[in-house]
Structures are given as C-alpha cells and as structure tokens.
Subunit: 168 residues, 2 copies
DNA sequence: AAGACACGGTTGACGCGTCAACCATAACGC
DNA sequence: GCGTTATGGTTGACGCGTCAACCGTGTCTT
C-alpha cells in the first residue's frame, strides 16, 4: 500500500535481472527435463543421491542430508518417501537419537546415480560451463557467494549463530 | 550406461557450478516466498500480471503471453485458469482467430501488480542487484545471454522466437 | 471442395513443494 | 522426578508444473 520510494532499475540492472530471470527458468527446466528423459532421475533425485553417494557408507542422517541439499524438512521427507517406494533409498532407525532417521543408498540407487553422473556433467558443460570464459566462471562464483552470503544473513539459524559469536 | 569420457570439472568450474546451483535454488525460493507473504502473489502470478500490465489495453493473446513469459502452453493455461477464478484476469474470445484466446487484466489484477511491484523491486535489489558491482552486473548479463543463446539453438521453436525478438 | 495437417488452447493425471499441524523423543529447569 | 520446551521427522491438504492426449479451428494441397 505504501507508495514506496524504491528507485527504479538502471538499464544495466535491468539487463542483468532480466537476463538472469530468463536464464534461470529455462536452464533449470532444460537440465531437469534432459536428466529425467535420459536417466529417469529428476534434478531433486540426483541431488539427494549424490549427497548419499559422497557420504561414508552411503548413509546420512536426515538432518545432515537437509544441510547438504538445503531443503525444507517436509520436502525432504516427502521426497525420500517417494524415493523409497522407488527402491532408490532405504530408511533406517537412528541409534544415537531414536527420533532421528538414517537414509541409505540401495544398490539400485547407487547404480542410478553413477549412471546419471556423466549425463548430468555433460549437460551442465554444454548448457553452461563450456560457454563461459574463465573470467566469467570466476565472476559467476563470486556473484553466487555474494548472494548466498546475503541469504545467510536472513536465515534465522545462521543469524542466531552469528549473533552468538558477536556476544549479543 | 555408456562409460562416457566427459572430462571432470576443474576447480574453477566446480566453484562456479556449485555456487550457481545453490544460489539459484535459494534465491528463487526466497524471492517467491517473500513476494507471496507480502502481497499474496506468487512469482508466476507476478510474471503474468506484469506482462499484461505492460501490454496495450492490458490485454494479450495467449500466444503472445506465452512468448513473453516463455512457459509451456499447458502451464500457462492452468495458471491462467487459477488466476481467473481468483479474479485477477479474464478470458475473452479472440476475433481474428476463433480458436485463440485473449486475456485481460481485471481492475483487481491491476491493483495487485501495482501494489506488488515495489515489493518485488526492493527484494530483487536487496538479494541480488545491490550486492553486485557494475562489472558483476554486466558479467551476469553476458553470462545469461550466452546461456540463452545456447538454449535457443536447441529448440527450433525457441530459436524462431529469439529471432523474432531480434527483429529477424 | 475434400482431406490432411498444423496450430491455439484445454484437460486430466500425476509427481513435486510448501505450509501448518502433528507425533515422539530428548533436553532443560525446578 | 515432572512439567515444559525444543528438536527430528512425518503427515495432509493444496496449489503448481509437466506430460500426453485431446478438441476445435485454420491452412495447405490437390
């Protein structure tokens, strides 16, 4: 309602935002569509499976997995449920904390990620990385860091940690 | 299945891709969540409504709208259906082509976008644009152009659209 | 004019993502 | 110990996005 005095975008800003917006949507859907068509794994599946693959014994606590992929907990729970019925993953009880859960890659799950890794890599190269100069790669990394840093400020958990560290 | 010889990512590439991947997910969900909470409009709503707002008489042909937002046609149809029941938009018949459809902004829809525009702008500034140097803004625009160009190569339809946008 | 095909748009089914409410267990304060 | 609160995780409802099939209309070929 308030007639807020946010200053309008400069042409440079407009170009950056417009480009990013379009790229973001199309790139994400293209990568997801392609991976799904070629391997039967969605982007989300792949994220979970890679995290598990990289973990010792291919098992991870729910919480750890959540930190890894940065999802809402209900999203993770729903998705793991579906992946379990597909036989990619199994849920086990947690010994240290009986309200916790541990998820382990099945053999099928392991085979699926390993089979998909090359496809994913090739796609990321051909739609993004191979198109950029080394300077652009660095720029992209720096931009991401800046944005992620800003987002972390907002995150209540990290904020609390940061405030604690400052003795507030 | 094929043991594909895709070369692995260099550290630089890894950094760029990892950063982009994380930023993309979190930024998108943050912007969407925030807009939704403050204005009741989703990211998708906002895209449609802005396109209509910018159009002469606040009306657009379905096809034109599709070019504007670059969505699949069924997505557009579904979403416009929901927006219509919410009273943001109305569907009218098309005179030139009787299989076509024209969508017009309602007064409520117009009020909603105009009310949301400032929020959106402020959020985009505070989570992205204001964090970047002019050089980074340019870099982002160039990266986006490169990727969008690559994406356009793939899809004959999108290719045609891109050519149209450049005035052929 | 007739058939074939292309095109604009809609529909239904289904998996996904979010929110809010919830359950069980653990940790803390007294 | 006992009540309170915090935490890890699940559930249900609901809107979203995609795919494939479909419908009606225009267009092209002959």
């Amino acid at each position: 309602m308030a007639t807020n005095g946010t200053r309008p975008l400069s042409e440079r800003e407009q170009r950056a935002w417009d480009g990013y917006r379009r790229m973001q949507g199309l790139l994400a859907s293209q990568l997801n569509r392609q991976l799904l068509a070629e391997t039967g794994l969605s982007d989300a599946d792949f994220a979970i499976l890679s995290a598990l693959l990289a973990a010792p014994e291919h098992r991870l606590r729910g919480l750890a997995l959540r930190c890894e992929v940065q999802w809402e907990k209900s999203r993770l729970s729903h998705h793991l449920g579906r992946m379990q019925t597909r036989g990619l993953v199994v849920r086990e009880d947690c010994v240290e904390d009986s309200r916790g859960a541990v998820f382990r890659l099945t053999d099928a799950g392991r085979a699926a990620v390993e089979g998909a890794a090359d496809d994913r890599l090739a796609a990321v190269r051909s739609y993004l990385l191979d198109l950029l100069t080394p300077e652009q790669l660095d720029a992209l990394a720096e931009i991401s860091d800046a944005v992620l840093g800003r987002l972390a400020q907002d995150d209540p958990h990290r904020r609390a940690v940061a405030e604690l560290a400052r003795g507030t």
